[in-house]
């Protein structure tokens, strides 16, 4: 019933109160803890917070740059290009946790014996040079179905940064696109021979499985919390909330909450590494 009372209150005060809401937009990965934090802040601190995930990290950065939102969520650092594109915005990154981009495969691929890939194999895969799992160590012959994260998603950027050094150097490819994390997990899980990039915490080990990745030294590394924390796993990435300049006002309240033990618990709850795990 509370929302109805709130509505009554709003109607009564409409026109008098004009406090601007705190608007947040960006990465679906970062969204999970932030949205839940926002629910708590709305209830406890009476903050007016709106959270949206349009366009993923890229959307968060561009909307903060355009001044359309007061806080961005990003699962990748703000690039020099972005800073140049929005000179009026002083992007301020606050790290709230750490995640890794895993390559996840469907059950049949996992059971066919593909548990790890090295960088060269992944390049062949993304470049479309190999099209059958047999060529990547699979027992069964099965076509590869690559679901690519859509443009603007932090996951995709982290992936190509590691593989090619920069999004600009990535080859031109045509794969079916996927957006949010849950969509990715569902599509990979329900499609034979599927692979995609996904936040490691979403790899449940039941419908989708995270592959171990070997870096330049050739040692396969699984995206376990330990490996992510120590950066042994190559595609680990920080999770940021972004503000224009250092956070103030409601934004500061939110950031402080996210960095507090309760906020960090939310980060952990959604499968990401809290900051204290990184310090170790």
């Amino acid at each position: 019933m509370r929302p109805i009372l709130t509505l009554g209150l709003y109607l009564a005060t409409a026109g008098f109160v004009s406090a601007a809401p705190l608007k947040i937009n960006g990465s679906t990965t970062v969204n999970l803890p932030v949205a839940e934090a926002a629910e708590i802040l709305r209830a406890e601190n009476k903050l007016d917070i709106q959270v949206d995930t349009q366009g993923g990290s890229g959307g968060g950065i561009s909307m903060l740059g355009d001044g359309l939102v007061q806080m961005g969520m990003s699962s990748k650092p703000v690039s020099e290009d972005d800073r140049k594109k929005y000179p009026q915005c002083d992007f301020h990154e606050t790290r709230i946790g750490e995640d890794a981009v895993a390559l996840i495969v469907s059950k049949d691929v996992w059971e066919s014996g593909v548990h790890e890939l090295n960088k060269a194999q992944i390049k062949d895969l993304y470049g479309g040079k190999v099209t059958n799992w047999r060529d990547l160590g699979g027992v069964k012959s099965q076509r590869i179905v690559f679901f690519n994260k859509e443009p603007g998603r932090g996951t995709w950027e982290v992936f190509v940064h590691w593989l090619y050094g920069s999004p600009k150097l990535a080859p031109q490819v045509n794969f079916p696109e996927v957006g949010g994390n849950e969509e990715t997990r569902n599509k990979v899980g329900s499609t034979r021979g599927a692979i995609s990039q996904l936040s490691a915490s979403w790899a449940d080990g039941k419908t989708v499985f995270a592959l171990a990745v070997s870096g330049d030294d050739g040692q396969p590394v699984e995206p376990t919390p330990n490996h992510i924390a120590t950066h042994k796993y190559p595609m680990s990435r920080p999770l940021f909330v972004l503000t224009n300049g250092a956070p103030v006002g409601d934004a500061k309240t939110t950031v402080d909450f996210l960095l507090s033990p309760r906020g960090q618990k939310l980060v952990e709850k959604h499968g990401y590494l809290p900051l204290k795990a990184l310090a170790k």
């Binding site: 076509r143 990535a170 079916p176 696109e177």
Partner: protein, 288 residues
């Protein structure tokens, strides 16, 4: 007073619609100036490399819509014929109302059904043709066909109703069977109305966004190598609308060239749907 006010409001409404066309034309001018017709015929769309070729999107839109029409057209026309020619007035009105009700099911609901039910069905049913996944042009086509069905039935039934009852009576009085009457009287005389119904449905299907967005797979640059093989239908693709409704629209604003390429898609879509609807409306006028 009344007169002046209604002129002002009308002109405001019309002006905003002229503005709409104007905005799309003007905002897309950059890409037309850069690429000209190559923008429409170009096969590659890689926005990071600043390549904007809309052909595969056009292809996706047209393939999905024609598939939808091919499926929904005959079935819907058949249902309309049964309602108009076989059922008594009362049943007819009830069914017609029901069908019009169903025509209002929001497209996002169809999208939900598509993503949760139809994707898997297509993936399993067409397994021996080896689709890469359940998100295919065919999935979008089937989903769109289901969406169009009520519209096709309702509009075709209108067209058949426009054939005077006296014509049917005269044919039956000669001893023609119901089937013969349908073939020789109803269908030929409602031909304009029926094609008009199909054109209006085509316009609607070309512009449908969210339902297609959810099941088409959103794969850029998918143009088939062979036009004769049905295999490309079982691949993911991208339509004008799924591109417009997707992530790129948000990313593009602020980059003049990219944005203008997006707006160009909007202009193409406006022209296609506008043409189909206008043609359909003119035919319908003549039919009545």
């Amino acid at each position: 007073m009344t007169r002046a006010l209604s002129w002002i409001l009308s002109l405001t409404a019309l002006a905003s619609l002229v503005l709409l066309v104007g905005v799309f034309t003007w905002q897309s001018s950059v890409i037309w100036q850069r690429d000209g017709i190559a923008y429409v015929t170009g096969h590659s769309w890689f926005y990071r490399q600043q390549q904007f070729g809309a052909f595969s999107l056009l292809y996706g839109s047209i393939v999905v819509s024609s598939m939808a029409l091919l499926l929904a057209g005959p079935l819907g026309l058949g249902a309309a014929l049964f309602i108009a020619e076989y059922l008594p007035q009362k049943t007819r009105l009830v069914l017609k109302s029901l069908i019009e009700l169903l025509a209002g099911i929001p497209s996002v609901v169809y999208g939900l059904l598509g993503i949760l039910l139809l994707r898997g069905w297509v993936y399993e049913t067409f397994e021996r043709f080896e689709p890469l996944s359940g998100d295919t042009l065919l999935t979008a086509g089937i989903l769109l066909a289901i969406m169009l069905l009520p519209t096709v039935v309702s509009l075709s039934e209108d067209a058949l109703r426009a054939v005077p009852a006296s014509q049917r009576r005269a044919a039956r009085a000669l001893g023609l069977t119901r089937a013969e009457t349908i073939w020789s009287v109803c269908l030929p005389q409602a031909r304009r109305g029926i094609t008009s119904a199909f054109l209006l449905a085509l316009g609607r299907s070309l512009g449908e966004t969210v339902a297609i967005f959810l099941v088409v797979g959103r794969q850029d640059n998918n143009v088939p190598h062979s036009w004769l093989s049905p295999a490309p239908l079982l691949q993911a693709g991208q339509t004008l609308t799924s591109k417009l409704g997707g992530a790129e629209t948000n990313i593009a604003y602020g980059d003049p060239l990219h944005w203008s390429a997006i707006m160009g898609l909007g202009l193409i879509l406006l022209i296609l749907t506008g043409a189909a609807t206008l043609l359909g409306t003119v035919r319908r006028e003549r039919n009545a």
